[in-house]
């Protein structure tokens, strides 16, 4: 235990000395603070209209009910704005006081008539429908849910990367050889190195939940998912360290790892449920599903147990397949 903690302390010191640990801790926190500012903008997504300044206060007020309004000077300025990359509809009035709706031509089919509908609605004297609103109380938008889960996953992977970079550093400094003639056993070395990969994600997951003010998240479930997911990141960290003879090779291997992580996350979020069985082999797919459900508070302990079982089963399989290589690489 003493030796184990000594390795943990040494890794911590080495990382702090090069500011690496500080950056790794700060990166998800900075991103999540950025996300906190980003979320209101995404939640406020609505239509965009470029209106001629001279169009009149009533018309401007009417368009502001449905989206963001930019006031520009004349038809040319509006046309220049409409051809930019985003979707925005231009509206001017011609000499006969008729409205001219200017579009680029590549707008989403479902939204292409909104400007005409607003003008048509202004022309109508009677409301066609009586509309009431209610909601089911889901105050968390998709961006909050996926943003929080992706940052936690990122913290888990970054912690694995720290392990990988530390091992590469040991190899480059030839300290591995020195360690092999000490009383330290290989298992102690592995567990000692892994501690940082368990502690960091847990601390960061708690920060993410606190910064995003996710009050309904069950902390026990969150920590269970984070710890289970950290195990696979630790193995990846060791594999990166073992397979990379120098930092360049380490970065190259991380590139593959990030591809694997993003494919698992994007697949779990974007792919229709019926086609997600393509991703069942990826432990990070189960981590994504579990984290999303923990954040939305739509999960039971039984489901957490199932997801954890998947993650642990696949992690053990990957460990068994790579144990020989890791052992050999650490020699």
């Amino acid at each position: 235990m003493k030796r184990l903690l000594a390795i943990f302390r040494r890794d911590l010191k080495s990382s702090v000395r090069e500011f690496l640990l500080l950056y790794i801790i700060l990166a998800p926190i900075v991103i999540v603070i950025g996300l906190r500012f980003f979320i209101p903008s995404v939640n406020a997504i609505s239509f965009q209209f470029a209106l001629d300044k001279s169009i009149g206060e009533t018309v401007i007020a009417e368009f502001e009910k449905y989206g963001r309004v930019e006031l520009l000077d004349g038809r040319k300025a509006i046309e220049n704005r409409v051809v930019k990359a985003d979707d925005i509809f231009g509206v001017i009035q011609n000499q006969e006081d008729d409205y001219v709706v200017i579009s680029q031509g590549n707008e989403d089919e479902g939204t292409s008539t909104i400007a005409q509908q607003i003008i048509g609605n202004m022309n109508s004297e009677e409301e066609a429908l009586a509309v009431t609103y209610s909601d089911i109380g889901a105050k968390m938008s998709s961006i909050t849910i996926y943003g929080a889960s992706s940052v936690i996953l990122m913290a888990i992977i970054l912690a694995g990367m720290v392990i990988g970079l530390n091992i590469i550093e040991e190899k480059e400094a030839n300290t591995m050889n020195a360690l092999s003639v000490t009383p330290m056993r290989k298992l102690e070395f592995i567990v000692g190195k892994s501690l940082i990969g368990l502690v960091l994600p847990v601390v960061e997951a708690l920060f993410v939940v606190w910064i995003l003010n996710l009050q309904n998240v069950h902390i026990g479930m969150l920590l269970t998912m984070t710890l289970a997911s950290s195990l696979i990141a630790i193995i990846f960290g060791f594999l990166i360290g073992v397979f990379s003879s120098n930092q360049i090779a380490g970065i190259a291997n991380m590139k593959f790892l990030l591809l694997f992580v993003s494919a698992s996350f994007i697949g779990a979020v974007v792919l229709p449920a019926g086609t997600q069985y393509f991703l069942y082999w990826s432990p990070l797919y189960w981590s994504t599903i579990g984290l999303i459900k923990v954040i939305t508070n739509e999960v039971t302990w039984l489901q957490i147990f199932q997801y954890t079982l998947w993650i642990l089963g696949l992690t053990i399989l990957i460990f068994l397949l790579s144990a020989g290589k890791i052992k050999k690489g650490l020699t």
């Binding site: 066609a128 509309v131 792919l271 939305t296």
Partner: protein, 346 residues
């Protein structure tokens, strides 16, 4: 020129031995497989409408029901409680409950809870326009389309290709170039150039050229094996070159401030993440806050799309290309000055 070729040969060998070419090929292959066989051609990513009629169905509801039935991904359910139950399981849904009161259809729009007032108003307006299509007066409206180009529908899996090109070939240089520079810093080969006839601008240019070459090969492979050969190649290769030079020049600029890769690692990862933020706007074109549009990768992403799927908007290509060229020149000149200063200081 001879010195530049010598440097190019050396950087090519370093990149080859560092498995850069192999990684680029494997990543391209994975993306081709993912695009062609894993992402479905069709999937409804739009908000789905779940609706139910309460009480008697009347004739006045017909146009509204016809509109809802025709909406892609919509689903009719038996009751409001069934609508709410399904909505709780799928955040990408809204509910519409239709009933009749005082000889007029009354609709209750059931939302998730985080939608803003403008979205609520627009939704009500669309439903209102659907039910009252004949009575709304569109006579005083002239429609002008600036760039009407008949564009075939792009399958969902192929629509990801511009994003993949932005994320992989273009941003590849950002990470690879940083590792190349740090390797030479740690091995002190960079200092050897101080006493050799090699100029610093040649040293940096050679690395940028290697990164651009990697990006171009990767782009060609991904494009040919996913979209095919019918794209605007001149536009695509030009914008990918400008984009990869931007990635490489940015990495070069950042690398000068750090001694080794460990110290720079998080900056490299964070900045590459910032550069990919505009991808959030790809499927939501009306989402364009200033902090996204000021990033050069925002226009770059749409310029790549224009090159692959022309929509009659070449301005976006010219705008992005010119902006990137100016930024690249500035980053390159600043990097030369900073590297010279840093070498002399050491």
């Amino acid at each position: 020129m001879k010195r530049l070729f010598g440097l190019l040969k050396k950087d090519f060998l370093v990149a080859y031995r560092g498995y850069f070419f192999l990684i680029m090929l494997v990543v391209a292959l994975i993306l081709v497989v993912v695009t062609n066989w894993l992402i479905p051609e069709k999937a409804n990513l739009d908000v789905k409408v779940l609706y139910a009629v309460e009480g008697e169905r009347t004739e006045r509801m017909n146009s509204l029901l016809g509109f809802l039935q025709g909406a892609e991904g919509s689903q009719r359910l038996d009751s409001k409680s069934a609508v709410i139950e399904l909505m709780q399981g799928d955040k990408n849904t809204i509910g519409v409950i239709i009933r009749e009161a005082a000889e007029k259809p009354v609709i209750e729009i059931v939302l998730q809870g985080y939608e803003n007032q403008q979205s609520r108003n627009a939704l009500a307006l669309s439903l209102s326009a659907a039910i009252d299509a004949q009575n709304i007066d569109y006579s005083n409206i002239e429609n002008v389309t600036l760039q009407a180009v008949e564009q075939p529908e792009i399958p969902l899996n192929k629509s990801f290709v511009p994003l993949m090109i932005l994320n992989e070939p273009v941003m590849l240089g950002f990470i690879f170039l940083a590792t190349l520079i740090f390797m030479e810093k740690e091995e002190n080969t960079i200092r050897a150039y101080l006493v050799s006839p090699v100029r610093i601008w040649e040293y940096l240019l050679s690395k940028i050229i290697i990164m651009a070459a990697l990006a171009l090969i990767s782009t060609i492979l991904i494009t040919v094996f996913t979209v095919g050969i019918h794209v605007n190649w001149i536009m695509l290769l030009a914008i990918v070159t400008a984009g990869s030079v931007f990635g490489a020049a940015s990495a070069m600029f950042i690398a000068v401030f750090f001694d080794n890769l460990s110290k720079a690692m998080i900056w490299i990862i964070s900045i590459s993440l910032i550069f990919t933020i505009p991808m959030a706007a790809y499927f939501i074109p009306s989402f364009s806050p200033w902090f996204i549009t000021i990033l050069p990768t925002y226009d770059l992403m749409f310029a790549i799309r224009e090159a692959i799927y022309p929509a009659g908007n070449p301005q976006i290509f010219y705008q992005s290309f010119i902006t990137l060229t100016i930024i690249n020149a500035a980053l390159y000149i600043m990097s030369i000055a900073l590297y010279q200063r840093s070498l002399l200081r050491d």
